[in-house]
C-alpha cells in the first residue's frame, strides 16, 4: 500500500517515541502540603546530654501503602482482643495491656517496604519507636486531626483504664509523651505530618481504611535539608516612659516580658499557642491600657514601663539572655521588677483528676538578692478578688545547671527582682515544651478567659505604679473604659497562629515582629526591634527542608495494565473477525500460515 509505511517501521517509530516521551513527569490529582519532622543534631564537646535528635535520613521516598491497609485491622481492635487474631503464636501474658511483643513484631513487619500511615490517635496504641530502625518501613505519615479535642477524637481512643474512658487530659499528656519520643529518639525513617482535611477523602484521623480501594503510591517532593544554625534571635521592645525625676534621671522601671516563639516536633507546624506563649496577646493589651493611662498627665504613673517580646524561649531562653546583655545600662539599672508572663490560659494537667484554675507565681531564691514576700502576697490577694487562686512557688537556683526553668531566673541571675506568672506548677511538664498539637488555641472551651488575667495583672501593676492608693481601699481602675478588650487579645492570638514561630527558622525582619511593632506603634509607644547574633559554644544544628508536597496516586498493578493491553488486542481481533466475515478471516489466516511456510 503506497500511503502507509511498512508495519515494522511504524512499530519501531512508536517505541522510540514513547521512550522519548517517558521523561515527561506529570503531576497527579492531589498535591498536598506536608510537614516534616524536626531534624536536628546537637554536637557537643562536653559530656552534656544531647537533647535534640531527629531523623538522619534526608532522602525522599515514594512507595506503596498497600501493606498498611492490610494491617489496619490490627489497630481497630483493642489490645485485649488482639490475642484472638494470631492463633499460631504463643502469647504468654494475656492480661497485659500493651500489645504483646511478638505481635508487635508482626505488626512492624507489615510495614516493610511500605509507608506507614498513622492517624494521630493510633499512636497511643502503637509504639512508634518500633519503627525507628531504618528499613522497617519506608516512611511514616502521621495524619493530624483538625481539632484535637472534639468528641469524635475522644470516641476513637478505645484505650481502657481500670477507671474507664480516657479523659481528655490524659490524651493530651500521652500525646505529649509521644511527641517527646519523636524528638528524642533517633529515627532512621523519614516522618511526615499532614493535616486531616486534605487527605480526608482518602483516610481520616480515625478511619483507617481508605475510601477508595487499591494501592496507593505516596510521593513526597521537597528540598533536602541543609544544616542551619541559629543565626540571630530578635526581640521587640516597647517603651512607655514617664517623666524624668528632679535630677533628670530615669525613674524606676517595670519590665513585662513574654515570648512569641514556639516549639513543636515539626518546625513548619510550630504555630500553636497553648503551651507557653499565649501571653503575647495579654502583653499587648496591657501596653494599650497603660498607654491610655499614661497619655493623661493626671494618671501618669511613677514608673516607666518596658514591654519586651523575646524569641528563643524554647532554646533555653536564648532570646531573653541576649536581650539582657544588650539592653541599655541605664534602663537596666532602673529596673525595679520584672514580670515574666508564661502561659496563662490552660489548666494544669499534672494533677490528673483535678482541674485546677490556679495560677502559679514563681520566684527564685538562693541568689544575691531577695525578692521578699510583699510582692508575691500582694499578687495573691489581688488574684483572690478575681476569684483565682494563686499559689506561690519558690525554687532555689542551681548555679551549675544551665537549664533555665522559668524566665525570671535569667533576670534573677543578673540581680534583678523577677517573678513569673504561669499556669504551670513545675517547669518540666511535657506539654510546656511546646507541641505539634496546639494548632489552634482560643477554641479551647476550658480555657480561662484572658480578660480576667489581664485585669488581674493590670491591677497588680497599678498598685505598684500608683503608690498613693495602696493604703486605701481596693480601688479597681480597670473597668468600663479601661476594661481589657478580649477582641484585641484574640486578634493578636489569631495573628500569631498564622505564622510559624520556630526560632531557628525566623528571619531578621520577620513579618510577625513587624506586625507586632506596628501594633505597638499604633498605641503610641516607642518601639525597637533588635536582632542579636548568636554564637554558641555548643552548636545546635537544625535542618531546613521542613516542608514538602505530598502527592498521592492511586495505582494499579502493571499486570492489570498488561491485561488491558491484551484485551484491547482481543477487541481489535474480534472486530476484524466480525467485519470481515467468518470465512474470509479464516482464509486470510490460512494464507498467512502458508506464506510463512513458504518463506521458511
Amino acid at each position: 500500500m503506497k500511503y502507509f509505511p511498512r508495519r515494522s517501521q511504524t512499530i519501531l517509530c512508536f517505541f522510540v517515541l514513547t521512550f522519548v516521551f517517558n521523561s515527561i513527569t506529570v503531576k497527579s490529582l492531589e498535591t498536598l502540603p506536608v510537614f516534616r519532622l524536626l531534624h536536628s543534631e546537637q554536637v557537643s564537646s562536653s559530656t552534656g546530654k544531647t537533647f535534640i535528635r531527629g531523623t538522619t535520613s534526608a532522602s525522599v521516598p515514594s512507595s506503596q501503602t498497600k501493606a498498611y491497609f492490610e494491617c489496619a485491622e490490627y489497630l481497630k481492635k483493642t489490645p485485649k482482643t488482639l490475642t484472638n487474631l494470631d492463633q499460631d503464636t504463643d502469647i504468654e501474658n494475656e492480661t497485659e495491656e500493651e500489645i504483646p511483643h511478638n505481635e508487635q513484631e508482626e505488626f512492624v513487619k507489615c510495614f516493610k517496604g511500605a509507608v506507614a500511615v498513622f492517624p494521630l490517635f493510633s499512636l497511643l496504641e502503637f509504639d512508634i519507636s518500633a519503627l525507628s530502625e531504618g528499613g522497617s518501613c519506608k516512611g511514616i505519615l502521621i495524619v493530624l486531626p483538625r481539632d484535637l479535642l472534639t468528641t469524635k477524637a475522644k470516641e476513637f481512643v478505645t484505650f481502657q483504664n481500670e477507671e474507664g474512658r480516657e479523659s481528655k487530659e490524659e490524651i493530651i499528656k500521652k500525646l505529649g509523651e509521644i511527641e517527646s519520643i519523636l524528638v528524642e529518639k533517633e529515627f532512621r525513617v523519614p516522618i511526615y505530618f499532614v493535616h486531616e482535611d486534605e487527605v480526608s477523602h482518602l483516610f481520616s484521623f480515625d478511619n483507617l481504611n481508605p475510601n477508595k480501594k487499591g494501592s496507593y503510591n505516596l510521593k513526597i517532593v521537597g528540598k533536602p535539608g541543609n544544616k542551619k544554625k541559629i543565626k540571630q534571635v530578635s526581640s521587640l521592645e516597647a517603651w512607655l516612659p514617664t517623666d524624668l525625676d528632679e535630677e533628670g534621671k530615669l525613674k524606676p522601671t517595670i519590665v513585662l516580658t513574654a515570648n512569641y516563639d514556639t516549639f513543636s516536633v515539626s518546625p513548619a507546624l510550630s504555630s500553636g499557642l497553648e503551651s507557653g506563649n499565649n501571653a503575647v496577646g495579654v502583653l499587648v493589651e496591657l501596653s494599650r491600657l497603660f498607654t491610655k493611662l499614661y497619655n493623661n498627665p493626671q494618671t501618669k504613673g511613677q514608673y516607666n514601663l518596658l514591654f519586651v517580646l523575646n524569641g528563643g524561649s524554647k532554646q533555653n531562653y536564648l532570646g531573653t539572655k541576649k536581650w539582657i546583655s544588650s539592653v541599655d545600662r541605664k534602663v537596666l539599672e532602673s529596673v525595679e521588677l520584672v514580670l515574666c508572663l508564661d502561659s496563662l490560659s490552660i489548666y494544669d494537667d499534672d494533677l490528673e483528676n483535678e482541674l485546677t484554675d490556679d495560677l502559679f507565681l514563681h520566684y527564685s531564691t538562693g541568689g544575691k538578692i531577695e525578692i521578699g514576700k510583699t510582692v508575691p502576697t500582694e499578687f495573691q490577694s489581688i488574684s483572690k478578688l478575681f476569684g483565682i487562686n494563686t499559689q506561690i512557688v519558690t525554687k532555689k537556683i542551681m548555679k551549675n545547671n544551665p537549664l533555665i526553668s522559668f524566665e525570671h531566673e535569667i533576670f534573677y541571675r543578673k540581680k534583678l527582682k523577677a517573678i513569673t506568672v504561669s499556669n504551670f506548677k513545675s517547669y518540666n511538664q511535657t506539654i510546656r515544651k511546646g507541641s505539634l498539637l496546639d494548632l489552634q488555641s482560643g477554641s479551647n472551651p476550658t480555657a480561662r478567659p484572658m480578660k480576667t488575667v489581664t485585669t488581674l495583672i493590670a491591677e497588680f501593676l497599678s498598685k505598684m505604679i500608683y503608690k498613693q492608693q495602696q493604703q486605701q481601699q481596693q480601688i479597681t481602675i480597670f473597668e468600663n473604659n479601661f476594661e481589657p478588650n478580649n477582641l484585641v487579645i484574640e486578634s493578636i492570638n489569631k495573628m500569631l497562629l498564622k505564622y510559624n514561630r520556630f526560632s531557628p527558622f525566623l528571619e531578621k525582619d520577620d513579618q510577625l515582629l513587624l506586625n507586632l511593632e506596628n501594633t505597638f506603634k499604633s498605641f503610641g509607644l516607642d518601639t525597637k526591634i533588635e536582632s542579636k547574633k548568636i554564637s554558641l559554644k555548643k552548636e545546635t544544628f537544625y535542618y531546613t527542608g521542613t516542608q514538602g508536597k505530598l502527592t498521592i496516586f492511586q495505582v494499579k498493578s502493571l499486570l492489570f495494565e498488561f491485561f488491558v493491553f491484551i484485551m484491547s488486542l482481543v477487541y481489535l481481533a474480534v472486530l476484524y473477525y466480525f467485519l470481515n466475515g467468518k470465512e474470509k478471516t479464516i482464509q486470510e489466516i490460512k494464507q498467512l500460515i502458508h506464506n510463512r511456510k513458504k518463506n521458511n
Partner: protein, 238 residues
C-alpha cells in the same frame, strides 16, 4: 506509568478505523485520494466551526466540576446550528475526490474520524496514560472515538445520498430530517450526561448508550444508501 495502557488506548484509537477501512474498500486508490481530502476538509471545517462558536456562544456563568455538566438550551442550539457546517465540509470532500462511490464514502469518513480522534484524544491520552494514576477515561475516549467513526460513516452515506440521489420532495424532506438527527444527538448526549451524572452513572454505560445510538444511525443510513443504490440500478436498467 506504563506503556501498556498507552499502547492499548492508541491501538483502539487508531487501528480500528484502519481495519474497517481496509476491509470495506477493495478497489485501488487513485490520485485524488479521498483520505487527503477528508483530512483537509475536517481541519478546515473544525477551524471555521470554532471561529463561529467563539463568536456566537454566550459565556457560561457557572464553573462547576468537570463531570457535573450543565445543560443550557441556548448554547446547545447554537452548537447544533454551527455543527451543521459539517454537512458542507463533508460534501465538498466527497465532491473533490475521485473514485468509486464506495471508496469515496469510506475514505472520506475514515479520514475525517481518524483526524478527529487524533487531534482530540491522541495527545491527551499520551500524556494521561503515562501518568502514575490509572484512569479509565482514556480507554473510554478511545472507544468513544470508534463509535464516532461509525457515526461518521453513517453521516457520509447520508450526504452522498442527498447529493447524488434524485428524490421526490417528501423523501428529500425525510432525509433532511434524518440528517438533523446527527446534530441533535451529541447535544442529547450532553443532556443525558447531565441527567445520568445525577444518578451517578458514568463512563461505560454512557458509552454503551452512545454505541446503541450510533449503531441505529448507521443502520438507517445504510438502508437509505441501499434504497438509493436500488433506485439507481433500476434507472440504469430502465
Amino acid at each position: 506509568m506504563s506503556f501498556f495502557y498507552l499502547f492499548a488506548v492508541l491501538a483502539v484509537l487508531l487501528v480500528v478505523p484502519f481495519i474497517y477501512f481496509r476491509i470495506s474498500v477493495k478497489g485501488p486508490f487513485k490520485k485524488k485520494t479521498p483520505i487527503l481530502y477528508g483530512v483537509v476538509a475536517y481541519l478546515l471545517t473544525t477551524l471555521s466551526k470554532m471561529i463561529l462558536m467563539a463568536t456566537f456562544l454566550p459565556d457560561s456563568d457557572q464553573e462547576e466540576a468537570d463531570f457535573q455538566a450543565q445543560f443550557e438550551p441556548v448554547s446547545a442550539l447554537i452548537t447544533i446550528v454551527v455543527s451543521s457546517l459539517d454537512i458542507l465540509g463533508c460534501f465538498l470532500a466527497l465532491r473533490a475526490c475521485s473514485g468509486h462511490s464506495e471508496i469515496r464514502i469510506f475514505g472520506v469518513s475514515f479520514a475525517w474520524s481518524s483526524a478527529e480522534s487524533l487531534l482530540s484524544f491522541f495527545l491527551v491520552s499520551w500524556i494521561g496514560c503515562l501518568k502514575p494514576e490509572f484512569n479509565w477515561v482514556y480507554m473510554q475516549n478511545a472507544l468513544g472515538s470508534n463509535i464516532g467513526l461509525l457515526r461518521q460513516i453513517a453521516f457520509t452515506h447520508i450526504i452522498w445520498v442527498l447529493w447524488k440521489g434524485k428524490f421526490q420532495n417528501p423523501d428529500k424532506r425525510n432525509i433532511f430530517v434524518w440528517l438533523s438527527a446527527f446534530f441533535i444527538t451529541p447535544e442529547l448526549f450532553k443532556l443525558s450526561e447531565v441527567l445520568l451524572s445525577k444518578f451517578f452513572i458514568f463512563g461505560w454505560i454512557l458509552l454503551v448508550l452512545k454505541f446503541a445510538v450510533a449503531y441505529g444511525l448507521f443502520n438507517t443510513s445504510k438502508k437509505f444508501y441501499q434504497s438509493f443504490e436500488q433506485l439507481n440500478s433500476n434507472k440504469k436498467k430502465n
